[in-house]
């Protein structure tokens, strides 16, 4: 009997890209997106009784946990203005209670967070890395549960977890180093990161993330049929993926960002001690403070040829 699965969604909730997306062709508004995401969530929960889900949101400059609601018990959602029955679980009786709970809990939190947005911050990128980190911490907590109070009870088996990340904007090369660290933690935890790209901008690091962790990277062409993409590529569990052929983008751009200016570089200089990348030769590595020999600097700085790849230091 295979293990229960845990799905972790990471949503990008910054206003500016979504507005741009809803005005593009074919348009995709946040409303439609949220509806389809909820259906996807419910489908996952329906697959097995013990399946669980967690959602994290990335707002400009900060990241929040959306579901399960942090600090509050389950099932205490706000009542909808749609006039449903009053009940401890909320939602109407025609809805499967698990779905109702999840949807209600998630949407109330989303509304809360979005209502808290004060102003449009053009330049602050969404804190995707923060959301990713929180998600990984949550998964880690699930995988190593605290010992049960009654020692005779066997601890529940930790679930297989995977992360689905919805991206609507360019990735921030500022966050290269923390992002790579997240990828390595995901590798250690054996959590594949799937990436669903809704808009058309360049994302190099998300490519690398899905490639390194064994997830799928899908660029959505037909935005109205988002649900089709979700159910075809992202719904299957990790175990089942081995037998299915999941469509993913094969060609991965393995470029990296330099550590000094956070620009993406093709060819750079690598410190032989800590493997940090620089776009121009520096006298001292900023991460490990290794002093590089002046002969090497002369060679690289003074040589007329350029483009000899990856000079390593003595």
């Amino acid at each position: 009997m295979s293990l229960p699965a845990h799905l972790s969604l990471i949503l990008d909730l910054s206003p500016v890209p979504w507005t741009a997306l809803s005005h593009s062709t074919p348009p995709l508004s946040l409303r439609a997106f949220l509806a389809q995401a909820l259906v996807f969530l419910n489908a996952h929960l329906a697959l097995r009784n013990e399946n669980s889900v967690s959602v994290f949101g990335a707002l400009p400059g900060r990241s929040v946990g959306l579901y399960p609601p942090p600090g509050r018990g389950h099932g205490h959602g706000r009542r909808q203005a749609g006039g449903e029955e009053e009940g401890s679980g909320g939602g109407d009786e025609n809805t499967f209670h698990v779905f109702g709970q999840a949807d209600e809990g998630l949407m109330s939190r989303v509304e809360e967070e979005v209502a808290g947005l004060e102003e449009v911050e053009e330049d602050t990128p969404p804190a995707l890395v923060g959301a990713l980190t929180k998600s990984l911490c949550y998964i880690n907590r699930l995988s190593n549960p605290p010992p049960p109070l009654n020692p005779t009870n066997a601890a529940p088996a930790p679930p297989h977890a995977r992360i689905v990340l919805f991206s609507v904007s360019q990735d921030a090369s500022m966050a290269y180093i923390p992002f790579m660290n997240c990828i390595f933690s995901a590798q250690k935890l054996k959590v594949p990161i799937d990436v669903c790209k809704l808009d058309d901008s360049e994302v190099i690091f998300l490519h690398q993330a899905s490639h390194l962790t064994g997830g799928a990277f899908v660029h959505i062409d037909q935005r109205e049929a988002l649900l089709q993409y979700l159910s075809m590529c992202f719904l299957s569990e990790t175990e089942t993926r081995k037998t299915l052929a999941v469509p993913t983008q094969d060609k991965v751009d393995f470029r990296a960002a330099c550590f000094c200016h956070k620009e993406i570089v093709d060819i750079g200089y690598v410190c032989s001690v800590c493997l940090s990348i620089f776009c121009t030769p520096v006298a001292q590595c900023s991460t490990c403070h290794t002093k590089f020999s002046p002969d090497t600097l002369l060679r690289f700085g003074g040589s007329a040829t350029n483009g000899h790849s990856n000079g390593t230091t003595a």
Partner: protein, 611 residues
């Protein structure tokens, strides 16, 4: 030593031959004479006109002498095509004469053999002694000047190293054969960047084998008819004297006064002394029973199977481990001494075990040198030197016993943490046109955004998947999966011979590229002093010594070779069709190589235009 002609001299077939030296010697137990000329070695048996041994010295590879002082005086000459060689025993009546004659032969043969050796190592990677063209020949000729017996020059050593590296790396040897023998690259260019291989080989050659650690234990072999037989070599004798000084003493006292050497050994191997010194069990067959021997039995020692070994090596024990140091504290407890701690289970084995211990201790002392003595001096500080109680402090103190103040932890402060923080402003991409919004526009945007998240149930219930779009999506994804599968499908293998041609073309082009970039780019920094002293002085000098003009020449040569690579690839592609391989596949396989070659050639053209 002057030339010495003695013994019966048989008439030579052609009387005009000029011999360097001659001497009476036996070969295959037949008496005769040994002659040496500058290019030949001849041995004639007495009374037989035709010399059975008549060899050219071109192929002489080594000579071996028997031990000084061991009779008979032997000389063995080994050739490259005759590993067994020829063994002669100088048969002059007096041993000193025979020794002198042998020394004469050795003096003449040694420079010849050294010359042969340098000639041999001058030809890379091949056995026959024909010297190879290239810069190695002047080196070999230089080392062949007579008057320098036994000392190979640095060039000869270098060539020997190169040969050993090629022998241990067969793919490198193949590349070397392709490029250097065909004359496209020269030796020094080939080894230009591979100095690390040479230094590794040099280090390996410099390692000396240590002493053998086996206990000397000659076993008698049963010959036919029940005779026991032991082969006595001078090396064995030397080892026995070293291992068992008693036997050395017996030998020095008794030979040659009381008994001859051979008699001594015969009686020794049958005596109780030998039995006592054995290191393994002996069979009790009748011919192996020891005979009592009046002289040798004087050296017998009583068996070493008491409760304490007779020979205690280190009287000094580390004070921290010395159990006897606190014995006075235990007397009053009333416990008896522990008699169950007996060494060995059977008394008969004790002497054997103790002999092993003695042997191991001797080996250790020889290997480690004076270190144990130094330590002993420190430990006996109470008696000879001033006692310093702090001598043992370092060994007693444990880190856990020291009360470190509870550290609050080290705060990991990244220097220049601003580099790693993600809160700085993102660099705008070139095409990004961020519209400048008026505050009212921003408010409207936000309000609209918020409205999207409210009241989720309605759009959820109203959700209907767009049919056409969904179908299109499905088609697109299926097509991409199919494409991936097609790309990963296994292609039919390329025939081995053709593949080998492709790989040789690739490796040759790689080598040219390496040489090209080595000539074009600035030279690497000199190696740190640790490595410079090990004998890389010779190669280091030639590596850094390429002048600018030489580098330019080399770059030009390499550029020429690289230009021809394009033609080679085209030839392979057109040959591919004949072999049944898809030519496009071959061209794609050479794709990265061609782009590298193009890059190099482009750079070279740019440089030429500049200068």
């Amino acid at each position: 030593m002057s030339a010495y002609a003695a013994g019966p001299s048989t008439p030579t077939p052609n009387g005009a031959k000029k011999w360097l030296t001659r001497a009476p010697a036996t070969y295959n137990k037949l008496p005769g004479t040994l002659f040496l000329s500058p290019d030949r070695l001849v041995w004639k048996q007495d009374g037989v006109p035709q010399p059975p041994v008549n060899v050219q010295l071109l192929k002489a590879s080594a000579i071996f002498n028997s031990k000084e002082g061991a009779l008979p005086v032997r000389l063995k000459v080994v050739f490259t095509d005759n590993e067994k060689g020829f063994q002669f025993a100088f048969s002059s009546p007096t041993p000193s004469e025979a020794l002198a004659q042998r020394a004469e032969f050795v003096a003449h043969l040694t420079p010849i053999i050294n010359r042969n050796k340098s000639l041999l190592s001058g030809s890379p990677g091949s056995a026959p002694a024909t010297p190879a063209p290239g810069p190695s020949t002047p080196g070999a000729e230089r080392s062949a000047t007579p008057g320098a017996p036994g000392a190979a020059t640095a060039i000869g050593q270098e060539n020997a190293l190169r040969r050993s590296v090629l022998l241990s790396h067969p793919d490198l040897a193949a590349l070397h054969k392709d490029l250097v023998i065909s004359g496209q690259l020269s030796e020094s260019e080939f080894w230009h960047g591979r100095a690390h291989l040479l230094s590794a080989a040099r280090a390996q050659a410099g390692q000396k084998r240590g002493r053998a650690s086996q206990l000397v234990d000659p076993k008698p072999q049963t010959g036919e008819g029940g005779d026991i037989k032991i082969v006595i070599t001078p090396q064995l004798v030397h080892d026995i004297f070293e291992e068992f000084p008693v036997v050395a003493r017996a030998y020095s006292e008794n030979v040659p006064n009381e008994m001859s050497e051979s008699a001594f050994w015969a009686r020794y191997f049958q005596s109780a002394l030998f039995n006592q010194n054995r290191a393994s069990t002996r069979s009790s067959a009748p011919q192996h029973i020891v005979k009592p021997d009046p002289i040798l039995d004087r050296y017998l020692e009583p068996d070493d199977d008491g409760s304490a070994p007779r020979q205690i090596f280190s009287t000094a024990v580390d004070r921290l481990l010395d159990l006897g140091a606190t014995e006075e504290d235990h007397e009053e407890t009333g416990n008896e001494r522990d008699v169950t701690m007996q060494p060995g289970r059977e008394r008969g084995i004790l002497p054997l075990i103790r002999r092993f211990n003695v042997h191991s201790e001797r080996l250790l002392q020889q290997a480690l040198g004076e270190a144990p003595a130094g330590k002993r001096r420190k430990l006996e500080g109470g008696m000879d030197e001033r006692f310093d109680p702090n001598d043992y402090y370092d060994e007693i103190v444990l880190d856990d016993l020291i009360d470190h103040h509870a550290s609050t932890g080290v705060q990991l402060d990244l220097l220049n943490s601003s580099l790693f923080s993600t809160s700085t402003t993102v660099r705008k991409a070139a095409g990004d046109d961020a519209p400048v919004r008026t505050p009212s526009e921003s408010r409207a945007l936000l309000a609209d955004f918020r409205a999207q998240t409210a009241d989720y149930l309605r759009p959820l219930h109203a959700l209907k998947p767009a049919r056409k779009a969904a179908d299109a999506a499905l088609q697109a994804m299926t097509a991409s999966v199919q494409r991936q599968h097609a790309a990963h499908a296994a292609l039919p293998p390329i025939p081995a011979e053709f593949f080998r041609q492709m790989t040789t073309c690739q490796t040759a082009a790689n080598e040219f590229l390496r040489q090209f970039w080595g000539a074009v780019l600035p030279p690497p920094p000199p190696p740190p002093p640790i490595y410079a002293g090990v004998g890389s002085g010779v190669s280091g000098g030639e590596r850094l010594g390429l002048s600018n003009r030489e580098r330019a020449q080399k770059a030009q040569k390499m550029a020429g070779y690289l230009a021809r690579t394009g033609e080679k690839v085209d030839a392979l592609v057109s040959a591919a069709r004949g072999e049944g391989v898809d030519p496009e596949r071959v061209r794609a396989a050479f794709g990265p190589l061609m782009s590298a070659v193009d890059k190099a050639l482009k750079l070279y053209a740019q440089r030429r235009k500049k200068t």
